[in-house]
Amino acid sequence: MLFAKPLGDLISQLEKLPGIGPKSAQRLAFYLVRQPEDDVRMLSESLVRAKQALRFCERCQNMSELALCSICSDAKRDQTTICVVAEPRDVAAVERINEYHGTYHVLHGLMSPMDGIGPENLKVRELLARLGGEMAEVIVATNPTIEGDATALYLAKLLKPTGVKVTRLAYGMPVGGELDYADSATLHSALEYRREL
């Protein structure tokens, strides 16, 4: 055997994490077993605590400590606008600009038959359930990839009968970006969504 069993077990657990290959898993494992026991305990406890304490917000499906997340329960946020994103990290990205005052809806993925992901695997039903009442606008903020486009199209078709206004984020040149360095995809969409001066 290459490693003592407890070490081997730890390595194979770490290897299951996204973006961690066998080499990184070994490096992390060696690092962890050399740390003081208290530090290691804190790490393992915070893992379990995070898992136990977090759930999906029952409205927007973002990660939350309470039944309703801090955004959904904030009276100052515009509850008639929903920004639909693929992942919780996208909520964080939009929040960072401090300009958007509506709510979110996290799909937890994009449609991708190759990966076995259809609408039933996404939080689509939960989005539909939010549309009764006085919803003003749904902003679809999925990435401009083929999967992001397909998911946006699916939502647009699905939401059309409800009469709510559905918009899609514009994609184009990064501000401060140089034309010469933009990849063709970015330039293409910048050209497609150009505006009159």
């Binding site: 038959p113 609408p119 083929i146 397909a150 199209l153 699916y154 010469d180 063709s184 995809a185």
Partner: protein
């Protein structure tokens, strides 16, 4: 646009090699397996992000015993530096002025090239896939937007095919199909517009060149695999395609028919007619790129002279000299290139992974 300086590090049989080609004709002479094709291939790699000779993975292109290879080129004109890094077991990466690019295909169009090799005959003789590959490569280096449509189309196609296979073991709602078909319809329609226009423009030039080469009539026609609106054709073909698990309509099934004197060159052409047709297409592509981009591409000739008869060889060489663009021509003996080219060319010799002015 031309390649000013090439730097190879652990690429194939080159350990560390700097090469300063001239802006005119470069005659690269060497015996077989000394590295002359590797040199030309490195230039093509900077141009397209792809390796000419198909390899299972990049390991085959990395020098024995090394972990990584690097190909770097300085481009005169815009003053840019292109770099491709190959690493065993990893994804190939491309850089523009040291900034990483999202995909290696984003290199396309920065150093346009037209490659002549002995596999060109396949464009005329083999199945439609070869002709689509030719169209896709040339269009991608002229039009970045075409490349974008192409890669979106390919991905949407994989997704729809995956969905077709799912139907056999689970219920799939029509709306799931419709979204991929809408994307295939949109990107596929755009691809076909580009291909039709390209083939039309290519025909004008290629038929003239073909006539000069052998007084025969060359005809090209872009043929679509289906009729009418693509999104609708996809929807109506769905039931039939579920059994096969693959999409049967769309630009990935189209063909470019090439005929000589009214007969399909693929089935009825002699080897000589097929060779001339392939040569006409490539030479016409050079003119078309020059017209579209405002300057000619770099011409790469990989050991093709020995395969051509004297008439075709002279035509090709005089075309190259006349175009006055940077050309890299490999051969085993300098005299294969003829006296006129030898007079104008800068001659290099390649031996055991070393390039030197001859």
């Amino acid at each position: 646009m031309s390649l000013q300086r090439l730097w190879l590090s652990n690429y194939r049989n080159f350990e560390g090699q700097e090469w300063l080609p001239s802006t005119g004709v470069n005659l690269v002479v060497g015996a077989n397996a000394q590295g002359k094709t590797n040199l030309l291939e490195a230039v093509a790699l900077l141009s397209s992000g792809r390796i000419l000779r198909s390899v299972k993975d990049d390991s085959a292109a990395i020098r024995l015993g090394e972990d990584a290879a690097e190909v770097l080129g300085e481009i005169r004109g815009p003053g840019t530096e292109l770099k491709v890094v190959l690493r065993r077991g990893q994804r190939r990466r491309a850089f523009l002025n040291s900034v990483g690019m999202a995909k290696t295909s984003d290199l396309l169009g920065r150093l346009p090239t037209v490659v002549f090799s002995n596999s060109d005959l396949a464009i005329v003789r083999e199945d439609a896939g070869e002709r689509r590959r030719f169209l896709d490569l040339e269009l991608s280096q002229m039009y970045p937007v075409y490349l974008r449509h192409l890669s979106m189309y390919k991905r949407a196609l994989e997704q729809r095919n995956a969905l077709l296979k799912q139907v056999n073991h689970q219920r799939v709602e029509d709306a799931s199909f419709e979204i991929w078909e809408a994307q295939l319809g949109e990107h596929g329609k755009a691809m076909r517009e580009y291909r039709h226009r390209f083939c039309g423009e290519l025909l004008v030039k290629a038929s003239r060149i073909h006539d000069e080469l052998g007084s025969e009539v060359l005809d090209l026609a872009y043929e679509e695999a289906d009729f009418g609106d693509l999104t609708e054709a996809l929807a109506s073909g769905r039931a039939r395609e579920i059994h096969r698990g693959t999409t049967q309509v769309g630009p990935h099934r189209d063909d470019l028919s090439i005929s000589v004197n009214g007969k399909l060159a693929r089935n009825y052409g002699s080897q000589g007619q097929q060779r001339t047709a392939a040569l006409s297409l490539k030479l016409a592509t050079i003119e078309l790129i020059q017209d579209t981009l405002g300057e000619p591409p770099v011409i790469l000739l990989d050991d093709v002279l020995s395969e051509l008869d004297m008439h075709r060889r002279e035509h090709l060489l005089s075309f190259v000299l006349h175009t006055q663009t940077q050309t890299i021509l490999t051969c085993t003996e300098a005299n294969q290139a003829g006296s006129e080219v030898q007079k104008d060319a800068t001659i290099f010799s390649v031996r055991a992974g070393n390039v030197e002015p001859a």
